[in-house]
């Protein structure tokens, strides 16, 4: 059975390395350092992306910009992907942001689940699996 493909958008390279190491055994993991890179990968059509794993606080780009100087650029990315461009790719956020207002906004946009970075990759994998059946 072919592996599912996950697009992981994260600017913290050290964390990304650990998560990718963990998930790579069972999934193809594509990396993007910010929203712009992730959007380009998505739009290229070269990869059949089954799920997007998304950080919230990321550097701003030319296309993904937010009013809080990157503190909610992941929210803006999710909005463009799900609402503006109409993708139905499930998005799971993996973030340190615990602001209820941001969480509510993400849920409203259509983000499937929000996992705290306090959780280990094993817990993240458990959540990811729910949306990759």
């Amino acid at each position: 059975m072919a592996k599912h493909t996950i697009l992981y958008v994260e600017d913290e390279q050290w964390l990304m390395g650990g998560v990718v190491d963990y998930l790579s055994a069972d999934y193809n993991v594509l990396r993007a350092r910010n929203g712009d890179q992730a959007l380009a990968l998505l739009e290229s059509g070269k990869h059949n992306i089954d799920l997007i794993l998304l950080d919230i606080m990321m550097p701003q780009g030319d296309r993904i910009r937010d009013s809080r100087r990157g503190r909610t650029s992941g929210v803006e990315f999710a909005r463009i992907v799900l609402q503006e461009q109409g993708y139905d790719t499930p998005i799971v956020c993996y973030t340190v942001v615990n602001d209820r207002r941001v969480h509510d906004e993400l849920k409203q946009i259509g983000v499937k689940e929000i996992v705290s970075k306090r959780e280990l990759p094993s817990e993240l994998e458990r959540v990811v699996k729910k949306y990759l059946r």
Partner: protein, 630 residues
């Protein structure tokens, strides 16, 4: 001591309270009555039985009558009836009293109402044929009322001095002038008292408004809103023809906001202007207001304000007086309150402005209260700002630590669950060591940043040692090695040390521990903000009495206006914030503090284009150790 001096203020009549300086009042009346040669008193309308002792003098006839039981009461009844009559008439009247003597009552009229009556006379009229029959008839009636034999007081009556009808009229006119003068003073004082009460109320309102706004998040903005409401009220109370609030902020496009009010011309109560700096000395044009004494000296906008009466602006052409008052200087902000009053055309001195001039003290008092209120608002504003900075800082610290710590745990779990190859596992262990060092540095930085005050290092923490060039290069290389993993992840070249550039370096006095923190922070900065596949280098240069250590990388640009502010606590460049939302803005602040401890300087150069992209350079300048020059 007179009885009057022993009275409490609340027992005084209105005229006594208003007059305040009763000695002066006494002197005026004494003089009037003495000049005229008559006897008299003053009857306050609100407390008619209160005699003004010094003026309550009596002819022997009157003394005799008053000594008899019921006599004094009789006299009082007569006096009060006539005083009331004069008050109603609103002008002086003369009459024959119950003792058969001519009396005059002159009301002191304030705003159409009598507040007291000057009562004097006790004379016989020599040239009026109607006087004596009526006077004698009245005297007989009094004798009957007091149970005396008819004619028993005749002898006393005949001893009373005489006066002509012309002298009566002259006395009436003269005392009436005095009464009007007193009325003017009383009116003026009453108005001032009312205004003072209103301004006290205004002051209370202002304080209340200012205080109630202190809990809000934008106290300075609130203060200006409050002032916008309160200042026109102040102008109205002080009868100013125009009130001006000048608010200048040289860093904000060099413009000044002016609020004006012109009650005399019914123009809108508040107008906002943005006045170019070039018009600073002619703030309101059109001959309405001209602030001539505001002098600009260099770009600090230092105002020379005419506080003294002699310095009051009195422009001949505009006929306007200005009392400017600087109420604050928050950061670069300059604020002036000014009030304007008109002088009659052609006047050459300040005398015609008397009513306006009298308000100056009140205006100054209100100005100082505003200044105090503004001061407390600014204090609160700065506390809130500081609190917000700290709150943001603590949040950022949490975020900055959680990222690497999550990475550390993720790697450990990958190792633990056998998700990686043995070879990859070794790499992970190496990077774990490096990341541990990074977290250690962050923790140290947070510790330094938590210290307060302009200088976070205590001189006792300064432990310098002499470091030759070899030692210096060793330290630099050791520091750069801490970033190998991070640099590799971004495919960076370096950070590397240009060893040959340090070869001729003279020995430096360095606190090695702090110097390492300095270099680690600068390298961390360079690696964090470098673009993929670009070099980061450290090079040295020897100058006359100092050396320079340059850290160069290629990455997100630094604007000229940002090169100084990035060394301030909690401050980051706009691009840095967008590039790396997790930063705390303390690394370069700590660098600056460490360099200062070494009696050196640190500066950043605005980025410039190069073959690798935007070149960003940080230069640390350090003094050469004494006696170790080239």
């Amino acid at each position: 001591m007179s009885n009057r001096e022993q009275r409490n203020e609340d027992q005084m009549s209105r005229i006594e309270r208003l007059f305040g300086d009763l000695e002066t009042f006494d002197l005026i009346l004494d003089r009037v009555l003495r000049d005229w040669g008559g006897q008299g008193t003053v009857i306050p309308r609100d407390q008619p039985r209160r005699l003004f002792d010094n003026q309550s003098t009596f002819e022997p006839l009157c003394k005799e009558i008053r000594a008899i039981e019921g006599g004094e009461e009789l006299c009082w009844k007569c006096n009060l009836e006539r005083a009331e009559e004069a008050a109603k008439e609103g002008k002086p009247i003369d009459y024959i009293c119950d003792n058969g003597l001519l009396d005059i009552t002159v009301p002191i009229m304030v705003r159409g109402q009598s507040i007291a009556t000057i009562l004097f006379g006790q004379r016989r009229v020599s040239d009026d044929p109607d006087f004596e029959p009526e006077a004698i008839a009245k005297l007989r009636r009094t004798e009957r009322k007091l149970g005396l034999q008819p004619g028993s007081l005749q002898e006393y009556w005949e001893q009373v001095k005489t006066i002509t009808r012309a002298e009566v009229e002259q006395a009436k006119a003269e005392v009436n002038r005095i009464a009007k003068f007193i009325a003017e003073i009383v009116t003026e004082r009453e108005e001032l008292q009312i205004k003072s009460q209103r301004s006290t109320e205004l002051e209370r309102q202002l304080n209340e408004l200012a205080l109630s706004n202190l809990s809000k998040t934008e106290p300075v903005k609130d203060f200006w809103r409050v002032l916008g409401v309160v200042f026109p009220k102040i102008c109205s109370i002080l009868d100013a023809q125009a009130g001006v609030v000048l608010r200048g902020h040289p860093t904000k496009e060099e413009t000044f906001t002016i609020q004006t009010r012109y009650p005399s011309t019914n123009r809108s109560s508040q107008e906002l202007y943005t006045v170019p700096e070039s018009k600073w000395q002619k703030l309101i044009r059109g001959g309405v207001v001209c602030v001539a004494n505001l002098e600009e000296s260099d770009r600090q906008y230092e105002l020379r304000l005419p506080f003294e009466e002699s310095e009051l602006v009195h422009p001949r052409e505009t006929e306007i007086a200005i009392i400017p008052m600087q109420i604050s200087s928050h950061q670069a902000e300059r604020v002036v309150l000014a009030m304007a009053g008109t002088s009659p055309p052609g006047s050459t001195d300040l005398v015609p402005w008397l009513p306006f001039k009298q308000q100056i003290d009140l205006f100054k008092m209100l100005g100082s209260r505003l200044r105090a209120a503004y001061g407390s608002v600014i204090g609160q504003h700065e506390r809130l700002l500081h609190e917000e900075q700290r709150r943001q800082y603590v949040q950022d610290v949490m975020h900055q630590l959680v990222g690497p710590l999550s990475g550390l745990r993720a790697h450990c779990e990958a190792l633990l669950h056998g998700r990686v190859s043995v070879q990859r596992g070794r790499v992970i262990l190496e990077t774990l060591v490096e990341q541990g060092g990074l977290l250690q540095r962050y923790a140290e930085n947070f510790g330094f940043a938590a210290r307060s005050g302009p200088s976070i290092f205590d001189p006792s923490e300064w432990n310098p040692e002499l470091c030759d060039s070899k030692r210096l290069v060793d330290i630099l290389i050791k520091c750069t090695k801490s970033f190998q993993g991070q640099a590799k992840a971004k495919d960076l070249i370096g950070p590397s040390v240009n060893e040959s550039s340090f070869r001729r370096f003279p020995p430096l006095m360095l606190d090695v521990e702090l110097f390492e923190i300095l270099i680690l922070n600068l390298c961390d900065n360079a690696v964090k903000y470098s673009y993929q596949s670009t070099p980061t280098t450290i090079a040295g240069r020897v100058l006359d009495s100092r050396v320079e250590i340059e850290i160069t990388n290629y990455g997100i640009p630094l604007k000229p206006e940002e090169v100084n502010m990035i060394f301030q606590r909690y401050t980051r460049s706009k691009q840095a914030e967008e590039h790396e939302p997790l930063g705390t803005g303390i690394g370069l602040f700590i660098c600056d503090q460490i360099v200062k401890l070494h009696k050196g300087t640190i500066r950043a150069l605005p980025s410039k284009k190069s073959q690798h992209g935007n070149e960003v350079k940080f230069i640390v300048t350090l003094p050469i150790a004494k006696g170790q020059g080239r």
